[in-house]
């Protein structure tokens, strides 16, 4: 359940950035291969935000699909997990998109 630690980091980082204002909406970017579950973030967010300047803020999560380039044949492909193989059969993929774990923007009150 590292999502709890991840949400604690979000609440601390956003609170620091917007001080002394309050957040109305927080927008994140979470890659499908980031190892973090959006659903679990949503589950923890309200609890972690309680009593902070993020209390009551809406959480928006842009989920970023995984993409990779095959180091064997050079093909560009969409991947849903690190187990996916290139059509040429290679597992040697350069995963360039889908590992994002970013705070994009905050709307303040």
């Amino acid at each position: 359940m590292h999502e709890l630690a991840v949400v604690e980091s979000i609440v601390a980082a956003v609170g620091e950035k917007i001080r002394p204002r309050r957040a109305a909406r927080v927008r994140l970017q979470v890659g499908a291969l980031s190892g973090v579950l959006p659903e679990a973030l949503r589950f923890c967010f309200d609890l972690c935000a309680r009593g902070t300047t993020l209390d009551g803020a809406a959480l928006e999560i842009d989920e970023i699909p995984g993409r990779a380039r095959c180091r064997s044949c050079g093909a560009e492909l969409a991947i849903a997990s690190f187990l996916d193989l290139c059509r040429c059969g290679s597992a040697d993929l350069d995963v360039h998109t889908g590992q994002e774990l970013r705070i994009k923007e905050v709307e303040v009150n």
Binding site: M1, H2, A5, V6, S9, I10, A12, A13, V14, K17, I18, A24, L28, G31, S34, G35, V36, S81, F82, L83, L85, A91, D92, D94, V95, H96, T97, G98, Q99, E100, L101, R102, I103, K104, E105, V106, E107, V108, N109
Partner: protein
């Protein structure tokens, strides 16, 4: 392509953690002394602007035409990553070879460290940071074979973070040019995400766990540079297929380096020791 600065390189080069530290490339309109233009008309908290090089590095940027929406563009784990970078500098200044040892609970991390303490004696100096939710049992076990150790208790935490390790290293005060093993909390999920400032992650799995573990926990096997397949003295009693396991591991991480060993019988441990001695000399050089 990065939507903030328009650069096409960061993500293409496999860097998902690309981010903007400052306001470069972003339009601003300060009162005198600046040549760029704010796209929004609110007062800006700059004073004495003249000639400065943009004093608002870490503060929020503003989205054009919207006073209430602040572009943050920061990695969620930025704080941990900054602390990990501090640890990495400290390790470099002490010329330490530091490994972050991860596995499921019960795979034999502590037993392996005990064996390394005995085998490495006289070759390199080894110290250990132990991570567990509760108890100091593991630190006591490794101290009993002469390894200096500090125990971290994470309580409800499921992983070590860079801040905990930074504090533990200062308490441990390892000798310059030595080897430091960080035994993470037994967990193949969460520790994959948290950089501690280590040279490499080393994942341990035992042959009693099932050869498909790399497929079930791909994040950790991808994050690691080395796989230790342990308890191989038990292979005659199991249906474990080593070749298949290594195929699974390489599917997730084609460059994973592997060692087969048994901390109990000692088979394969000297190969691991030789590698650790080389790594430690490399870091100390």
């Amino acid at each position: 392509m990065c939507a903030t600065c328009g650069c096409g390189t960061a993500e293409d080069q496999g860097n998902p953690r690309h981010h903007h530290e400052d306001a470069s490339g972003h339009d601003h309109d300060h009162l005198p002394g600046h040549e760029h233009a704010h796209l929004h008309g609110h007062p800006h908290p700059h004073q004495g602007d003249q000639g400065h090089a943009h004093p608002h590095g870490p503060s929020p940027e503003h989205r054009a035409g919207d006073d209430r929406t602040l572009a943050i563009e920061q990695d969620i784990l930025a704080k941990n990553d900054a602390l990990a970078a501090e640890n990495r500098s400290l390790f470099a200044s002490l010329r330490l070879a530091v490994f972050n040892l991860t596995s499921s609970p019960g795979s034999g991390k502590t037993t392996l460290l005990e064996a390394l303490g005995v085998r490495l004696a006289g070759r390199v100096r080894l110290s250990v940071i132990e991570g567990d939710q509760e108890t100091t049992r593991d630190a006591e076990r490794v101290r009993a074979v002469g390894i200096p150790a500090v125990q971290i208790n994470t309580r409800s935490g499921c992983h070590l973070d860079a801040g905990m390790v930074g504090r533990a290293v200062r308490e441990l005060d390892p000798a310059g040019g030595s080897l430091l093993m960080i035994e993470n909390v037994g967990n193949l999920v969460c520790p994959a995400l948290f950089d501690l400032g280590e040279r490499s992650k080393v994942v341990l799995m035992s042959v009693t766990e099932g050869e498909d573990k790399p497929l079930k926990y791909p994040h950790m096997f991808r994050a690691a540079r080395v796989l230790l397949l342990s308890k191989i003295d038990l292979l005659p009693h199991l249906d474990f297929d080593v070749t298949r396991c290594l195929e699974h591991a390489r599917r997730v991480n084609p460059t994973l380096r592997t060692f087969l060993l048994s901390a109990k019988s000692g088979v394969g441990v000297s190969e691991l020791c030789d590698w650790l001695v080389d790594e430690t000399r490399g870091a100390a050089a």
